[in-house]
């Protein structure tokens, strides 16, 4: 569950003013909006990577506005991928589990699971520095979901993926959501992805978030997610 209330962020000349949004558990929401609308800024603020000037952020009914990023337990896929360059792909995937001191066995199994779902098993021992764009993106996704966070923020997770992989990654993300009941906020520019992944679509434009009428309908109709939502009435 993510709730953002009247969030204000200043980033140089750019500012987000009084942005509010709300995600139920298990809900998958797509955030769209033109380049430079502040989508990444918003996600980073939710992660705790941006100083916010006003407003509050609640995750699972806990006010985390002043918490450090680590306390928020968010699975975050940055737009710029930002893999850990000094670790192998395996260690990148395992990072969130290692810092939680997850037992060796569980950890290895979980890494294998994620790698299989994202089709990066063959890359596990490689260094991230020479991965192709699409490979790197998948590792970033795997790193964010391996520790099974309850809140997942994905900043253009499908950018640079080929068609076949895109399908598989969508399936993997959906499976992850089913398994953990996480609330997922995606950023994408691709209406197709929005249609496919979203229970709801939000638009960020001139600093304001609003429902996208086009997608609310199709998203609600085109998926079997509504019932599940009902099971978790906030």
């Amino acid at each position: 569950m993510i709730e953002v209330r009247q969030l204000n962020v200043v980033s140089g000349a750019f500012r987000l003013v009084d942005v509010s949004l709300q995600l139920e558990p298990r809900e998958s929401v797509v955030l769209m909006g033109p380049n430079g609308a502040g989508k990444t800024t918003l996600l980073e603020a939710i992660c705790g990577l941006r100083r916010i000037t006003a407003g509050s952020i609640h995750l699972n009914d806990r006010d985390v506005t002043l918490e450090p990023p680590a306390a928020r337990a968010i699975g975050y896929v940055p737009q710029d991928v930002a893999l850990f360059t000094t670790m192998s792909v395996r260690d990148n995937l395992a990072y969130g589990l290692k810092v939680r001191r997850v037992a060796e066995d569980t950890l290895n199994e979980r890494v294998r699971e994620v790698a299989q779902a994202l089709r990066i098993v063959g890359l596990l021992e490689r260094s991230p520095s020479r991965l192709s764009g699409g490979e790197a993106r998948r590792v970033a996704i795997g790193r964010a979901i391996a520790f099974e966070p309850e809140v997942v923020l994905l900043d253009e997770p499908l950018a640079g993926l080929d068609e076949a992989t895109r399908d598989e990654v969508c399936i993997a993300l959906e499976a992850m959501r089913q398994a953990t009941g996480a609330a997922v906020l995606h950023v994408t520019h691709e209406p197709r992805d929005a249609e496919r992944l979203a229970d709801r679509v939000l638009r960020l434009e001139s600093g304001q978030v609003r429902h996208d009428e086009r997608f609310v309908a199709s998203g609600a109709a085109g998926s079997d997610r509504q019932p599940r939502l009902a099971k978790h009435p906030r």
Binding site: C47, G75, Y95, V99
Partner: protein
């Protein structure tokens, strides 16, 4: 307006650029090599073997190696947090009191150059002066003119050099990977150990190298603060000094050559070991 430069100039320009660089840099490398050759030519095998057989020189060698290693380790350990805090602190420019903060940083920064700027003997004198006063005077008896003084004298200068090197390194490294580590649940300490430090590897190696090399070559502060007592606080630079003072240039250069050989062996070995670990 398609601009299409003819091909050959490019390649030859690139060559002459690299050549110019190689000449400029090579001149210095050759100068150093010639200095070493000059030293070698001015000593002789007899002096060298005399140096190696002398128990004083052996003791000084052992003490030099041990103290320089201790001092370099200490330098890196202490310089790392300083350099990290300085480099990361300055990024938080949206501070509430930017002026005061900037002034504090400038002051600390200037202070960190003091051990490099101070003439060597004065570093030793300053330490002596310091150890006349509490709380240092409480342990003065176990430090001044004793082995801990050797390490401390070396450390004071070496650490300043390590800070400079590491700070440039940390400033070069972006915060992005650290940030992602934080979102993944790492505490700042964990992010620092697992993400930041491995990225800073070349800088850490350079800092360790430079502080070790400086420590082993350190003379002035050691002479004043630890004294030059044979078989107790005599390190190799002290041996060289004493040989020079006794008019034994061959002996002094023999010990210097020994130092160069030792240092080269240690540094190359460390590098090779470090590299092979890296190559995995």
């Amino acid at each position: 307006m398609p601009v299409d430069a003819p091909a050959p100039p490019h390649r030859s320009r690139d060559r002459s650029f690299l050549l110019a660089m190689a000449i400029l840099g090579g001149a210095y490398v050759v100068l150093i090599a010639l200095m070493v050759v000059a030293d070698l030519a001015s000593t002789n095998v007899a002096s060298l073997s005399a140096a190696i057989r002398s128990p004083e020189i052996r003791y000084a060698t052992a003490l030099s190696l041990a103290s320089a290693t201790a001092s370099a380790a200490l330098s890196v350990v202490v310089a790392t947090p300083i350099a990290y805090l300085l480099s990361r602190g300055q990024e938080g420019r949206e501070s509430t009191r930017p002026r005061a903060r900037a002034a504090a940083y400038a002051a600390v920064d200037a202070l960190l150059d003091v051990p490099i700027v101070l003439p060597p003997l004065v570093v030793g004198v300053s330490l002596l002066v310091l150890f006349r006063h509490a709380p240092f005077s409480w342990i003065s008896e176990h430090v001044v003119y004793e082995i801990p003084a050797v390490v401390l004298a070396q450390f004071v200068v070496a650490c300043a050099l390590a800070v400079r090197t590491l700070r440039a390194t940390f400033e070069q490294i972006g915060v992005r990977q650290e940030q992602v580590a934080l979102t993944l649940g790492a505490s700042r300490a964990t992010a620092f150990w697992t993400v930041m430090l491995p990225q800073a590897r070349p800088g850490l190696v350079a800092a360790a190298t430079v502080s070790w090399a400086r420590s082993i070559g350190e003379f002035g502060p050691v002479l004043v603060f630890a004294s030059a007592t044979r078989m107790r606080t005599e390190v190799l630079p002290t041996s060289v000094y004493l040989e020079l003072q006794a008019g034994n240039l061959e002996g002094a250069l023999a010990v210097s050559v020994l130092m160069i050989a030792l240092a080269a062996a240690v540094l190359v070995l460390t590098r090779v070991l470090g590299q092979s670990r890296l190559a995995v």
